[in-house]
Symmetry: C2
Subunit: 173 residues, 2 copies
Amino acid sequence: MPDRPLNATAASLLGFLHERPMTGWDLVATAELLIGDFWSLTRSQVYRELAAMAASGLVEAGESGARDARPFTVTAAGRAAFADWAAQEPGPETIRFPLLLAVGFGRHLPAGRLAASLAAHRVEHEKRLQRYGELAAAVSDDPFATATLDFGRHYEQAVLGWFDALPAAVTQA
Amino acid sequence: MPDRPLNATAASLLGFLHERPMTGWDLVATAELLIGDFWSLTRSQVYRELAAMAASGLVEAGESGARDARPFTVTAAGRAAFADWAAQEPGPETIRFPLLLAVGFGRHLPAGRLAASLAAHRVEHEKRLQRYGELAAAVSDDPFATATLDFGRHYEQAVLGWFDALPAAVTQA
DNA sequence: TGGTACATGTAACATGTTACATGATTAG
DNA sequence: CTAATCATGTAACATGTTACATGTACCA
């Protein structure tokens, strides 16, 4: 009974469970590390999806270990559901960038507001680029992880390039 | 009674209404055109937000015109709410990119799946870059609209650059 | 013994998506 | 007259966020 195609968040959890059984906590940490930069999720969501997937037999909770830690294991049905998801064409990306809204409505912002926001965001993006650089060595043996990290680097470089190409009419607004 | 800070979607609608009264339909079209590439919204959402904002006095429905068209006007309270929103520091962007999930889980995908997805997406991104190029002339008199469009160009160029730098280990998986 | 990291979860709410349902106006 | 476009909305559901509540184990 294929309830309906998995959503990408649930599918990702299943994907991680292909490697080894993990607790909800582990999954959050793993997801943050490996896909957090282009697919965010919260603890609440993880527990909810795990409960739902356990109910439909895609995962199974193991014996509680220390501190009630309940490792989940992917079942055969879970592998099948993941495979179904993986066979789908991935959808288009969505980007939600509040700073760009601020730019778009720049005419209506109080003086100095946009300049300050741009400066603050630029710093963050520089940090992220630097972090990606530091992470690169850690995943150099995995071409897939390297590729996603590399996306991040291209992205951050583009954002920085965009900041630096903004005309004074925008940065001084 | 400031119900609570506006969400970015509602704020954007208010922003557009600063220019002129518009119907829900108009707002959808305007938003798609001007911010659709980095802030998506649906018709349902627009009508819901308009109803909510009308209930709290941020907008007012005018006389119905042809075909029940109900133009909404921003009120003084609406301008104030928008100003409050605009004074906030814009939050970080969120990117949700299913293709990157596919790359990250590349090891688990059926043979050829990833290559096909990458190729299909590359075509889309090329089209988008081209579209942005064509749009540029239309907004050349507005530095803010030009800046957001320019972000799109930087972004698309980065994505294309990333595609082209992918190693065979990924593109041939 | 005290703080940090580990670990689980619920409840309430906000936001976003999809499908459905209806009808008027206009251009051809 | 008929198809496309304009225009409104509801209902149901899926997804995502925030705040709250609880307790254990480890390390210094």
